[in-house]
């Protein structure tokens, strides 16, 4: 079977790079980069929604793996705690137990820090952070603003560092870190599906059938093509300055469609189609056969 190697696929990925070029923003902060998986954030939001009466925020442990320059957060669980004006109590036994249970499933995950919902870092956070520094070297503190103070869910990560005069008054300062979202491929596909629930008013979404999926993927590529086309129109009419790097990407894009002679392409296409049709025929035949066998036995 001939395969036109990722024809459509590479086309769409180069299209995406062009789009990305317009939207990319760079944040530069020093310290280890914190890479978060979306499942962690969803867990945090869910435990915030299930918090006890009267609690303003929830805290929990972050699990994951550390690297030389980065920390990857892959899992988390919430820890019950009580917070009032003067004191804070964290159920440490619970935290230890849960960590043991989680370790049975994924032995490679370690405690790398803790999270709290809410916008600010309070004094209680300092105490809790101290507890966690006993569990992990240099723990990360993650805040997720679920109260949406600035109309956005600000997700920030901090690491603590000493400040002050050594020997006399020593304090702790939380320095911010860069936060990146990482996905496994399958996670990305899952998140994409979840994004679609935003559109429907009842916040629900079913899973689509086979051909409809291909149609929607093609639709997405079509959208991207129209964006690029409108950009080119703008350049041609002089509204926007031409950018050489984008031009190079465009040339890449056009060259991605492979130049094959008509007869070769016909034969490749036909042989592929024949293979697929034959397999469909065989599958139908097998199904008919087992149905027949079923009826014969029951006779």
């Amino acid at each position: 079977m001939h395969e036109s190697h990722g024809d459509l696929r590479s086309l769409s990925s180069s299209l995406f790079i062009i789009i990305l070029h317009f939207l990319y923003e760079i944040m530069a902060v020093h310290g280890p980069v914190v890479k978060i998986h979306p499942v962690v954030l969803a867990s945090i939001v869910d435990s915030y929604e299930r918090r006890n009466e009267g609690a303003t925020r929830v805290i929990g442990t972050l699990l994951g793996t550390t690297d030389k320059h980065s920390v990857e957060v892959t899992n988390c669980f919430s820890v019950p705690h009580n917070e009032s004006e003067d004191e804070v109590a964290v159920d440490m036994e619970f935290a230890k137990n849960m960590y043991e249970l989680h370790k049975k499933v994924s032995p490679s995950e370690v405690i790398i820090g803790w999270y709290a919902t809410g916008y600010d870092i309070t004094e209680h956070s300092v105490l809790i952070h101290e507890y966690y520094s006993r569990e992990a070297p240099n723990p990360i503190h993650l805040t997720v603003d679920t109260a949406l103070q600035s109309n956005k869910m600000n997700i920030r990560a901090y690491v603590s560092s000493q400040m002050g005069v050594p020997g006399k008054t020593v304090g702790v300062m939380f320095t911010p870190l860069t936060v990146k979202y990482v996905y496994y491929d399958t996670e990305r596909i899952g998140v994409e599906l979840l994004q679609r629930t935003r559109a429907s008013p009842s916040r629900t979404n079913g899973l689509t059938t086979d051909l409809a999926q291909v149609a929607s993927a093609a639709g997405r590529v079509q959208e991207m093509l129209t964006t690029v086309l409108s950009y080119i129109e703008d350049i041609l009419s002089g509204k926007v300055m031409a950018d050489n790097s984008v031009g190079r990407f465009l040339m890449d894009l056009v060259n991605k469609v492979p130049k094959i002679t008509a007869e070769d392409f016909e034969s490749m296409l036909n042989s592929n189609i024949n293979d697929l049709l034959m397999v469909t025929y065989l599958a139908n035949l097998t199904q008919a056969q087992i149905a027949l066998n079923e009826k014969l036995v029951v006779l």
């Binding site: 049975k104 996670e187 899952g190 999926q213 008509a262």
Partner: protein, 346 residues
């Protein structure tokens, strides 16, 4: 590896009484399943991290029953069984996990379990047994089958199955002989029923998703538009061929059983006839007739092969065929798109 809801009999006993009195065996208690986005992400993560290779990963689903739909709000994974971990106690792990989750207000009601599959091969005896024990204890439980390979090809493949009431009855009686199955008229198509799935997200999660979409710089790889299909097709066809071979053997066994049975009937008839003849001869000579001997003791009927495996194999073959057909139809569509792109109007 199959596990069942052992610790739940206390909590579930009261519910079972009320359920058994109300529902008739024909109506299905669950018409639709509503899954939280969080559960989907957790299942994906579990397979991705712990399930590389062709091992299946399993876990427990937690949630609640709302009228005629089942809501799944959380889940937790089950650790893999290793040979050197003999003293691992499944029940204890489950109990501890559920107790801890109760402290943080997560629904601790067991409503089912999930399992990953390799190219759609999940119709097996182990699955049947597990699901039967779950459904016996909790009427609304389902098994979620997550297909990671199909998901990696472009779109999430998550299906929910339950055992049909007919199959439940058969499993209860453990009567797997041909006569038993004929009585219940069960076919491979009515073994499992698929329940439609709907994904639901709360408002806060929607805000989170919005945020993620803005800030995320991960490029979309568009696996769904991939044209290369031979690898996947080869593997699927290989599995299908293996199953068809199994089915063949099974059919052969059943045929030999049928032949043996009919041969035995013939022998019985011949014996009876001979007996009759001898008896008439003896009577004509004035001697007492020979005593009637117990025929059934002389000709022991051959053992009927259990038909449950055949049903399972047939169900599995059916499943493979469905998957293959879906895959080929998608690829045909993609090929025609590629043709249009090439611009050769033919």
């Amino acid at each position: 590896m199959c596990f069942g809801p052992f610790p739940l009999h206390q909590t579930m006993a009261s519910r079972k009484e009320s359920a058994a009195s109300g529902s008739s065996p024909l109506e299905t208690p669950v018409k639709q399943i509503q899954i939280d986005g969080l559960v989907v992400l957790k299942i994906i993560k579990h397979y991705q991290e712990e399930g590389q290779g062709s091992e299946v990963v399993q876990g427990v689903l937690l949630g609640l029953v709302v009228e005629d739909s089942l809501e799944i709000t959380n889940c937790f994974p089950f650790p893999q069984h290793t040979e050197d971990d003999v003293d691992f106690d499944e029940v204890q792990y489950q109990m501890e996990m559920m107790r801890s989750l109760r402290h943080v207000n997560i629904d601790h009601l067991h409503v089912g379990w999930y399992q990953s599959t390799y190219y759609g091969s999940f119709v097996s005896r182990a699955l049947l047994d597990s699901q039967f024990s779950y459904q016996h204890a909790i009427e609304e439980s389902v098994v979620l089958i997550y297909d990671p390979i199909k998901t990696a090809q472009g779109s999430l493949c998550l299906k929910a199955y339950r055992l049909t009431p007919k199959l439940m009855e058969i499993c209860k009686e453990k009567d797997f002989s041909p006569e038993g199955l004929k009585k219940a008229c069960i076919g491979f198509e009515i073994m499992f029923e698929e329940v439609p799935i709907v994904i639901k997200n709360s408002h806060l999660i929607n805000v989170l998703l919005l945020d993620l979409q803005e800030k995320s710089t991960v490029a979309d790889k568009h696996e769904l538009l991939n044209l290369s299909s031979s690898n996947h097709l080869e593997k699927s066809l290989q599995l299908l061929m293996d199953r068809v071979d199994d089915m063949n053997q099974d059919i052969g066994k059943y045929n030999t059983y049928c032949r043996n049975l009919s041969k035995q009937q013939q022998q019985k008839q011949q014996y009876l006839q001979r007996r009759q003849q001898e008896n008439t001869q003896r009577q004509s000579r004035g001697e007492p007739p020979l005593p009637e001997e117990d025929i059934s003791k002389m000709f022991k009927p051959p053992q009927a092969p259990p038909r449950m495996d055949t049903l399972l194999i047939a169900g599995q073959v059916n499943n493979y065929c469905q998957n293959i057909k879906e895959f080929t139809s998608q690829n045909l569509g993609k090929l025609f798109m590629a043709e249009a792109l090439q611009g050769h109007s033919s």
